[in-house]
Every structure is written in C-alpha cells, then in structure tokens.
C-alpha cells in the first residue's frame, strides 16, 4: 500500500519533495483558513513591551466593566520597531502605547503640528495631575513645554551593598555621605585580578563602553545632555568635570570602580561573592534582584541612598523611564485618555506595581499606602519603600529632546575611547555636542524649506 503510494508520488513530475511540501502547505493552509476568526467590533488597543506591565493592565481593566473591549498586547522588545513602522505607515496604530524614554525622541521630531502623539499638556493641567505627580518626570516626554506622555515611574537610584562587607572595612553606611567618602572606602576595598577570575575586588561596576552610568552620575549632579529649551549642554564645564571624575573613579591607584560585567546576573553573583562593594541600582532592579538573584543575595544586602557629589547634595539619580502616549492618528483620543488615567493613576494598581516590580509611581498620593512601609526580608527587613519614596522627590529632571536617542548613541560610540584614554573628556563631549547641533541645524533648515514651499 505504501509502495503504491510512493510509486504514485513518483509520477508527480516535479518529484517527491515538491509533493511533500505541497501537502504541508495545503494542510497548514487549511488549518490557518479555518482558524481565521476575526474579532468583531473595533477594539481599543494598548501596547506595551514588558510582560509584567501587560499583566498589570489586564488585571486593572478586568475590574472595569466599561473596558471590556480594550485589548492589551505585549510586543516585547520588537515593540519599538513595530511602533516606528506603524507611525510611518499610519496603519495599525495602537490607541495607547508605552514608549521608553530613549526611543520617544523619534516621535517628537519635526514641527509640532507633525508630532504623531497627542499633546496632553492641557488635560494634565486642567485635571490637576501635574501637581499630584513628581513634576521632574514629565520633562523627558516634553518638547517646547508641551507634554506628550504620562510618566510611568520615578526610578530613584540607590546603592545596593552588603552590610557585612562594609563592616569588615570598618565603615558604616551613614558615614558614606559623599562620593569622596565612598571612593576612599572603595579604594581600600580594592584587590587586583583579571576579569573572569574570582580574586579581584572593585568598588562597583561602572560601564567603560556605554554612557548610561556616566549620565546617571551627571544627572545626579544637576547636569544634562539637553536643557529645558532643547539646546545641547553636554559640553558644559559641569559635564566635562563629571566625566573627568568618572574616569578618576575607574582609574586612580587603586581604582574605586571597575568595568561592568556582561549581565545583571553576573553583577549579582559578583556581589554575592564579595567582589563588589556595591551596585548602582534603580528601583526596578530591586525586583529583578529578588526574582533572579534570590539564591545569591537573599537576606544579605541592604540599600542606601547614593553618596552625594557635595555634602548636603542630591542623594539619588535616575535611569530609564517609560511613558504612556496616545498616537494621534489612532482615533478615539478622549476614550484613550480615560483608559490611560485608569491605567496610570489608579491607586490600587500603582500599589500592586510597587509590590511586584518595586517601581515607585509618580503619583505622590499613593506613597502613603502601607505597602511602602513593609519591611523587606530580602533586604534584611529594611523598609525599602520608605527609602525609595523619600528619594523619589529628589529625582533630577532629565530633559527630553527629539535627539535624545541619537545623543545616547553618539555618546556610546565615543565612550570606550574616552575610558581607554584615547580621547580627552572635553574633546569627546564637544564632539558629541557639535554633531548633535549640526543635525539639529540641518533638520531645522529642512523644516523651514518645507514650510516655505508650502506657504501660498
């Protein structure tokens, strides 16, 4: 029987392989055709790129009978490319989308009438949300004073350390008030050794190839890549001096810091082995630590505010951030706004968000919730919520710009050369700043020409 089947298959002129593939195509094609069940009424879609956020939104919307037709989709790391394409082709746009701060610049480019996101400034002002949230967080998603996104987080930064290691050095966390204090301790902590071995000791990991840790320290000090007017300030004396002090931390004899490792897990493992004195961590990293570093660090670490640059100065910084935006061409902006408020300003969700992701919400009123006073066994019973909310108000503003992503990229491109000593900090930062200014000027010229061409 099989023999006859095979013989018949051989009669097929192109041969057996095409026949096999034809059968596969027909079979799977049928399955797909039968499967096509298109949902009925048009839905409101919400896009995010983090699984936990998607879960949080779904749980929140489940409590809202009027939001039965809202669909939450987690697109993972491809969401940014997908969104860029959707905006470019003006199809399949979500009604609400969470955009990360390093990417949002792309959508804030060009003349204001062409920004593909809805201007939320009036709604936020009118309904009083601006005062109720930490104002510094809106700057990143704003251009020329107009705000285009609701901030998701504050992301205060702390230093995670092992109290027993610190005690061995004879220090107490209260004594380490400035970076100078901390570096002195770190220099005593240092032991030489090659990467990949278990014998080295370094104060903390600082990136030698990417600029984000430098930027965090710059923001703490009050500097920034752009100012509120959107002008480039990366080559300011403050920025140059901060970079020089960053290099001094990495260099010096002995160094106070070492190069970052390949992944968070490796950082946790090194901390657990006593090879790092401390880790720079934003609030969300604490949840990651509890989830993935449980075996390594549970009950052995505590958090402390960042040492300040000068006595009495700011004791925190920030890294990263996300905002909820409303694409302009997606339709139903008012409804989207209502849903956005439900997702981002609902106290219960925000408390839950802190509990599962240790992310401090920008809505100040939610900080009175008892969850922020719970002692965390992972951190030796420390009330991390309280530490974080106290720092949250101090978080420095980071100014947004359509060129933020490019600024990051340009800085990263030159950063390795700076840390290797091939370029001076002044020259490197000036180079990045000049390139950004050149691109801004070119785009302004193009916009002016386009406007002139359109004028009657």
């Amino acid at each position: 029987m099989l023999r006859r089947l095979l013989d018949w298959a051989d009669e097929f002129p192109p041969g057996r392989v095409p026949l096999l593939l034809l059968l596969v195509a027909l079979a799977t094609g049928t399955v797909i055709a039968v499967r096509q069940v298109r949902s009925g009424p048009p839905r409101l879609t919400v896009w995010t790129f983090v699984h936990l956020a998607a879960e949080e939104f779904q749980q929140r919307l489940a409590r809202e009978p009027a939001a039965r037709d809202v669909e939450v989709r987690n697109l993972g790391s491809a969401m940014f490319d997908r969104l860029a394409l959707a905006v470019m082709t003006r199809t399949e746009l979500p009604n609400l989308v969470e955009i990360e701060q390093s990417v949002i610049g792309r959508y804030l480019r060009g003349p204001p009438e062409h920004i593909p996101l809805v201007d939320l400034t009036d709604r936020l002002e009118r309904e009083g949300w601006l005062e109720r949230c930490v104002p510094a967080r809106f700057a990143r998603y704003a251009v020329a004073g107009r705000i285009f996104g609701i901030p998701h987080d504050v992301h205060p930064m702390v230093l995670v350390y092992r109290p027993d290691v610190l005690a061995e050095l004879g220090c107490r966390p209260e004594e380490l008030e400035t970076w100078d204090d901390w570096c002195a301790a770190a220099r005593r902590f240092y032991r030489p050794g090659a990467l990949g071995t278990r014998s080295w000791r370094r104060g903390m990991p600082l990136s030698t190839v990417e600029g984000y840790t430098y930027l965090a320290l710059l923001w703490q000090r009050g500097g920034d890549m752009f100012d509120a007017a959107g002008e480039v300030t990366l080559d300011s004396p403050l920025a140059v001096d901060t970079l020089e002090r960053y290099l001094a931390m990495l260099g010096g004899d002995p160094p106070a810091a070492g190069p970052a490792l390949s992944s968070l897990i490796e950082d946790f493992a090194a901390l657990s082995r006593g090879q790092f004195l401390g880790l720079l961590a934003a609030d969300w990293m604490l949840a990651v630590m509890q989830r993935d570093g449980r075996a390594l660090l549970e009950g052995r670490v505590r958090i402390m505010p960042l040492p300040a640059w000068e006595r009495g100065g700011r004791r925190t910084s920030t890294i990263g951030g996300t905002a909820l935006c409303i694409p302009r061409d997606a339709g139903s902006p008012d409804r989207a706004w209502e849903i956005a408020k439900r997702l981002y300003f609902d106290r219960r969700s925000l408390v839950e968000r802190f509990r599962t992701q240790s992310i401090v919400p920008p809505l100040r009123a939610s900080w009175t919730d008892p969850v922020f006073d719970e002692p965390a066994p992972f951190f030796q019973g420390q009330r991390i919520g309280r530490v974080l909310t106290q720092l949250a108000d101090q978080v420095p503003p980071v100014h947004g710009s359509p060129y933020l992503a490019e600024g990051y990229k340009l800085l990263d491109a030159v950063f390795a050369d700076v840390t290797a000593g091939r370029v001076t900090p002044r020259a490197a930062l000036a180079g990045v700043a000049d390139e950004l200014r050149a691109r801004m000027a070119r785009d302004r010229a193009a916009v002016a020409r386009a406007r002139a061409g359109r004028a009657p």
Partner: protein, 293 residues
C-alpha cells in the same frame, strides 16, 4: 528526415516568464526605483520630506561613522573568509578520505549549524559568550587562557561575530569543497604519485587547482553575504553595540533610516554600499578569471 527547429514561438517564452516578471517588477524593480527617489530626499519626522539632490551622498562621503562601519564589514568579510574556507577545506579533506567510516555522520554533524537561523543563535549564544560565567570563558579558564569580554569589549566584539559566523557557515563551505574534491579524477593523483610527488606536492599541484573554481565561488558568495549582514550583529551583540563596535553597514543603515527617521539617507547609503559591492565583485571576477588561466 530531420526537421529544422523552427524555434518555439517567442510568445510562449513571455508566458513562462510572466509570473517572474510580474513579481520581479512589483517587488524588486519598483522598490529599486523608489529608493532612488528616496535617496534624493531628506525626511524630518513623519511630516517633512524635502528634495535635497545629491546632498545625502555628499554627507555620506564625509560621514566617518559610515566609512568606519564599512571598514568593520570588510573586516568581518575578510575574517569570515579566512576563518571559514581553510577550515572547511581541511574538514572536507578529512571527510573525503577513502576509507573513512561513518562519513555521513560526520558530514551531518558538521553541517547542522548551517540550519540554525541567526535569530535563534542569538538567544542561545548568550550562554556561551558571557564574560564571567559563559561557557567559552569557563573552558578557556580551565585551559589557562585569560577570559575575554566577548559581548561587551569593543575590541573583541567584531571577532565574536566572526567566530559565530565560522560556527554557522563552515559546514556549508565544507559541503561545497567535498563535492569539488569528489570531482577531481583519481588519475591525476596517481599520475602525480608516479612522478614522485609527496603528499604536500600532490595537494598543491592537483587538489588546489581542482578546488579553485569552488573556492572562488565561495569567496564571492561569502563577501556578498557578509556585506548584507544584519541579523547577527542586531540580535547577538545588541544592535551593533557596544557603542558602534559591531555596527556593520546594514545596522548603521537601519539605525539612521528607521530609528532616526531619515529614510533618504538610508537609501543613499544602500546605493553606495551596492556600488562598493559591485566594485569588489568585479575585482574578484577579474582575479579568478586570471587565476583560472
């Protein structure tokens, strides 16, 4: 009686060609033309799109990042060829030996990596390349070799890509060489042996010339493939990072075109790269033709 071939009606040819031409025109020729149009324009955000003539090309020629990425791509192409071809030839020679047992098994084992797509490799190879706990560094440590930061050291990262490419494609090249080796007539070897040639001399006099056409083809194919490389640096070393250390031309093109939004610049870049490739392909053709003679 032999009838002269009247020749099939030319119209039949066009019918056969029609599906191809239709698809070709829609999905290759038209986008080609459109990209020429784009290359002459600059866009700022979704609303602004102005004609700038040859400005994109002028800026490209002055764009250091572009030329650096081109250099990196060339390095990757050269590294791939030098890494893969001798190894593939060596393996082919091993597998081709007359009294080898389980030949099919060896061939299959060595060819398997070819089947794994770049996107899938990126997920798994993070395990291999981690600086502190990755498999590769752990193995090197046991051999007394100092660890390297495969994914984050800007001086190493490009070599990581080359290494991954060697893993992915050596088997492919080996299969080609095998076929080529099997195409060399035994008599040539026997004649050389009779003339008193040793193993190495037989290799140089018989094997290499016999293999040359295949090697030439593989070199050209590998070069073109290397210049189009996008998936691997994008997913494995995280979007051409760190910084620009593994940014090949295609990654830079995508970054400027899709992420920064200047599609015109990206289109101009694409055309410039094609031109460079054309020159390289012509040079290679010239060289191989000379060698063959």
């Amino acid at each position: 009686m032999r009838r002269a071939w009247r020749g099939a009606p030319a119209s039949a040819a066009w019918w056969f060609l029609a599906p191809f031409l239709a698809l070709f025109a829609t999905f290759t020729v038209y986008p080609l033309a459109y990209s020429v149009y784009l290359a002459l324009r600059q866009s700022v955000g979704p609303g602004v799109d102005v004609y700038v003539g040859g400005d994109n090309f002028a800026r490209l020629l002055r764009d250091e990042v572009f030329w650096e990425s081109l250099g990196r791509t060339a390095y990757f192409a050269a590294g791939s060829i030098l890494g893969q071809l001798p190894l593939a030839l060596g393996l082919a020679l091993l597998v081709n030996q007359r009294r080898l047992r389980l030949r099919g098994l060896w061939r299959t084992m060595l060819f398997l990596p070819v089947l794994v797509g770049a996107a899938f490799i990126a997920v798994g190879f993070r395990l291999v390349f981690g600086v502190q706990d990755g498999v590769l560094n752990q193995l090197l440590g046991r051999l007394g070799v100092p660890a390297l930061d495969w994914l984050r050291d800007p001086d190493v990262v490009l070599n990581t890509l080359v290494l991954t490419g060697v893993w992915m494609f050596t088997g492919f090249n080996m299969v080609y060489f095998l076929a080529g080796l099997q195409g060399i007539p035994q008599e040539l070897y026997e004649a050389a042996a009779i003339d008193g040639a040793g193993a190495w001399q037989r290799f140089c006099a018989v094997t290499l010339p016999g293999i040359w056409p295949i090697a030439a083809f593989l070199i050209t194919a590998s070069t073109i493939g290397s210049f189009g490389l996008f998936d691997l640096p994008w997913v494995l070393t995280d979007r051409g990072g760190p910084g620009r250390a593994s940014t090949t031309v295609m990654v830079y093109l995508y970054e400027r075109g899709f992420l920064a939004g200047d599609i015109g610049y990206a289109a101009a870049m694409g055309w410039l790269v094609t031109l460079v490739l054309l020159v390289i392909a012509l040079v290679q053709l010239r060289v191989t033709r000379a060698r063959a003679d």
